[in-house]
Every structure is written in C-alpha cells, then in structure tokens.
C-alpha cells in the first residue's frame, strides 16, 4: 500500500530547557488516514503532536530544531503565520476543555475569530458541525446554556465540533478518550473512523487496543526517539525492533 504524505517531519529535536523531549525524529504521516502515536508515558508523544501546530511555541525555554513540512511548506520556516497554521488543525486534548461560554459560542468561536460575522452563516456552521460530531440531537434545545453543563463525553464531542468548525485539514488528538467512559470513548472512536474520509487524523494513545482498532499507520516512540513506524498491520503483526515487540507484548510499559 502506498501512502501520500501529509505531514513530513525531518530531524525534529525539541528540548524543554535542558531536557530533550524529542531526539531527531523523522517520519511521514499519511493523508486521510489515522496515524496512532504510541509509546509509554513521558516518551514525547504529546510534544510531537503539539509541534505540528506549534502549540509548543508557547512553552518557556523551548528549543526546536529540524523541520516539519505541511503541504510542502516548513512550518518552522520564516514567514509562517502561526494562527493560519493552527487553523488547519483541530485539537482534542486529554480532557475536554470547553471555553467558558455557551455551547453555541464554543462552536462559533473559531469562525468568529476568523472573521465570519453573519448570524445566519454562523448558525449554519454551528448546526453543521454539531451534527458532524453527533452532538446536535442532544443539545439542539439548549444551545445557549453553558458548555460546562454537558457531560464529559458530550464536552469532548463539543470540542471536536469546535475544532472542525475552523475547517481544518488535520485532526490532532492527544489521548482524547482518556477521560471518557467506555461508551463515550467508543463514540469518539467511531467518529474518527468516519472522519478519516475527509481529514488526516493523528491520535496519541497509550491504549494499545485503541491503536489496533483505529490505526492505519503507527508511530512508536520511546524516550524521545522514534523507534519504529509503518502501516499498522506490519508494525503490530511483525515488529522489526526489539523495543516495539516488548511494548506490544506489554513487557515495556
């Protein structure tokens, strides 16, 4: 199977002050597929994910070396508009963090920031993306209540809708189901499987079985290094590296 690369990472090293979190990572992430980044906690998965939308820029004393190409442009190169770059990627974090406003305003937040003012248009957008994230039926009668009144599972789907509403090409998920109960997790997973028809999805997970269920492509990290990457089948069934084998067997946690 041949993959068309969407994000190309080249010799990426990231350090927080003196602590090196990523060491010389080079990998291509395929377009319109689900890539799972797996590895034990503290190995740099979040750092790698957040380097794609340059959210790590905000951390004090961060140093980034190397390149990340998105559609051929180095996002760490000169002349890159970070807000524009971030708009191309929706982010789901470990726990849902709704913005301190209503359900409606949460979804409309992104479009408003990017200059959409017409109420009719905003309404359409909000409805569309709430449907897209399978939340519409549950909230259509209380769009103007605070988002914090939703259950955690609903909040995570709201965060998905909020991210989709800025029309990204890529969805980034940082262990997006780790705070959810099994049913809510399953809904997010189903969503991802549907959404990969339109979006490139990169999801960090430390649940191996989730990676097996979702992933088309797998990136295995260990202590800041990329150990192995490849099509999911190949990595899971026939890992090339000793470390990967250990992790999949559950020896390394």
């Amino acid at each position: 199977m041949e993959y068309k690369a969407h994000i190309r990472v080249r010799n990426l090293s990231v350090s927080y002050g003196t602590e090196q979190a990523l060491k010389d990572v080079t990998v291509d992430l395929p377009e319109k597929k689900i890539t799972a980044i797996i590895g034990p906690s503290g190995c740099g998965k979040t750092t790698l994910l957040k380097s794609f939308n340059r959210l790590i820029d905000a951390v004090d004393g961060i140093k980034v070396q190397g390149e990340v190409y998105l559609n051929g442009d180095n996002i760490y190169g000169p002349g890159i508009d970070v807000t524009h770059l971030r708009q191309k990627m929706g982010l789901l974090s470990q726990r849902p963090y709704p913005l301190p406003m209503s359900i409606y305003d949460n979804v409309a937040y992104g479009p408003r920031i990017h200059g959409i003012r017409k109420r009719r248009r905003l309404k359409e957008i909000v409805e569309h993306y709430l449907r897209e994230s399978s939340l519409w039926d549950e909230v259509k009668d209380r769009l103007h209540t605070p988002a914090s009144s939703l259950s955690v599972g609903q909040q995570q789907r709201l965060c998905l809708a909020r991210g989709l509403a800025v029309e990204p090409e890529i969805i980034l998920g940082d262990e997006p189901t780790s705070a959810l109960d099994p049913t809510a997790s399953q809904r997010i997973e189903e969503k991802f499987l549907q959404l990969k028809a339109k979006y490139t999805i990169v999801v960090v997970t430390h649940i191996l079985r989730q990676a097996i269920r979702l992933a088309d492509y797998v990136v295995f990290m260990y202590l800041g290094q990329l150990i192995e990457h490849g099509p999911a089948r190949k990595v899971f069934e026939n890992p090339q590296e000793e470390l990967t084998r250990g992790y999949i067997k559950g020896v390394i946690v």
Partner: protein
Amino acid sequence: MHLIRGLQDKLARISMLALALFAGLLVFLMAFGLFLRSRPILDSIPLMELLLSSSWHPLKGEFGLFPFLTGTVWVTGVSIVIAVPFSLLCAMYLAEYAPVSIREWVKPLVDLLAGIPSVVYGICGVLIIIPLIKDHLAPLFGSFSTGYSVLAGGVVLAVMVFPIIIHVCLEVFASVPYEVREASLALGATRWQTTKKVVLRKAMPGILAAFVLGLSRAFGETMAVLMVAGNVARVPRSLLDPAYPLPALIANNYGEMMSVPLYDSALLLASLLLLVVVLFFNVLSRLVLIRIERGIQ
C-alpha cells in the same frame, strides 16, 4: 509523672483553643462593643438622619455623617477607577505575556509595595501629588485648588491598592487551566484574542473579587488619605474639592472634645459603619476567591 504530662497536654490544648477562639471572635466582639457604645446617639437621633444629614455641628448636637460618607465614596471611587485598568493590564501582562523570568522578578516587587507603611504613601502624596494638582492640574482647568483634594486622595489610594489587586488577579489568572488557553490558540486565535475572550471571561468572578478586595482596603485606609484629602466637612462637588473621609474623621477627632455630649458615640457609630462595610466587602470577595481556589465555578 504520666498524670502530670497528660494534664500539661490537656492544659496546653485548652489554652490554645481558647486563644484561637478569642482571635476568631475578636471581630465580633469589636463590632458588638462599637454597637453598644453607639447606642446613645442611635437612641437620640434617627439613623436615617445621621446618615443623610449634611450638617456636622457637634457643639449644636448635630451629627450629620453625610459629608464624610460621600467623602469616602468619592475618594474610594476615584481610586478604584484609576486602579482597576492599571492593575488589570499589569496583571494581564505579567500572567499572559511576560516570560517567566520577568514575572518571577516583578511579583515580589509588587508585593513589596503592599508592605510600605501608609504614612510613607501619604508623604509622597503631599510632596508629589499635591503640588502637581495645585500648580499644574487645577490651573489647566481654570480653577483654584490647594491640591488637597478628592483627586489627591484617590491617586494615593490607587497606588496603595495596586499591589493587592495585581497580586490577587495573578493568582486568579494562574487558576485558569493552561489547556483552556491552548484550546483557543489551537483554533488559530491570537494571544490577545485568547486573553480577552477566554482567560478574562473565565477569570471574571475572581477579578471582580480582587477589585472588591481592593475597594475594601481603600475604603478603610486612613493615614495616607488623611494627609492628602484636605479634611473639610463638606460634601465634595468635584475632583478638586477637598474631602473628609470617614476614617480621617475618626482618627482626627477621637480623643478630643470628648466633653461634648454624644460626640464620642457619633464617632464610634462612624467606626461601626466603617467596620461593617469593610467586613462585608472583604468577606464577599474572600468567599468568591475561596470558591475559585477550590475550582468551583
């Protein structure tokens, strides 16, 4: 031996408990004492008249507190109007924009400001603010002022409440989860948009509590205001008029002219009012802040 040690332990515990209870009760004891002592004037003049009459002539038995109440409200109001935007912007910069190194340097300096004795602020006010108002500001508006005025009191008070408001605002900003900012930034919002639409909104109850805490400090502050506000028992009509805030009235007059009937009772009533108002604001803002600290929104 064993018995004695047990007894000692018990005694120590009981006496410490008593002291702690006493400290906790002190404020109620004070309020109660002030209330008892202001009974005489409350019995002879209706409360409404005391609060709303402008005529303060103790020798004639007239104890209208209105000029002092308005004086306090004016001075406090001016100080809050000045302090709120300055300290909020300052806290916003430190919390949201400044690199950690700058923030960790400036924070203790700001806190240091809170520890300066208020008489020093008063002196600085007399030496800097008063001449500035008298020689430059008042002529600019074509009016005369000695410089001792509502404005002078407000400015000095504003400087005094900066550190409180900034300190509390910084804590409130720090209580906003970093991930909420990330959520906004990840959607392509700028720092400023994130601060304005997300962080400020999330922090708003705490920020309001910080303002109210500053307000209660300004309300009760005595020394510095007394030195610059002019102390004329008349309802101020403009920023350049002198004012006579409540705390200054009490500090200036208690202990003198005590032979005048009801005089001391009137001053103690003024103290009681001050205590109640300051306590009310203080408790209100602290309740909000405690809730925020515990993460209840």
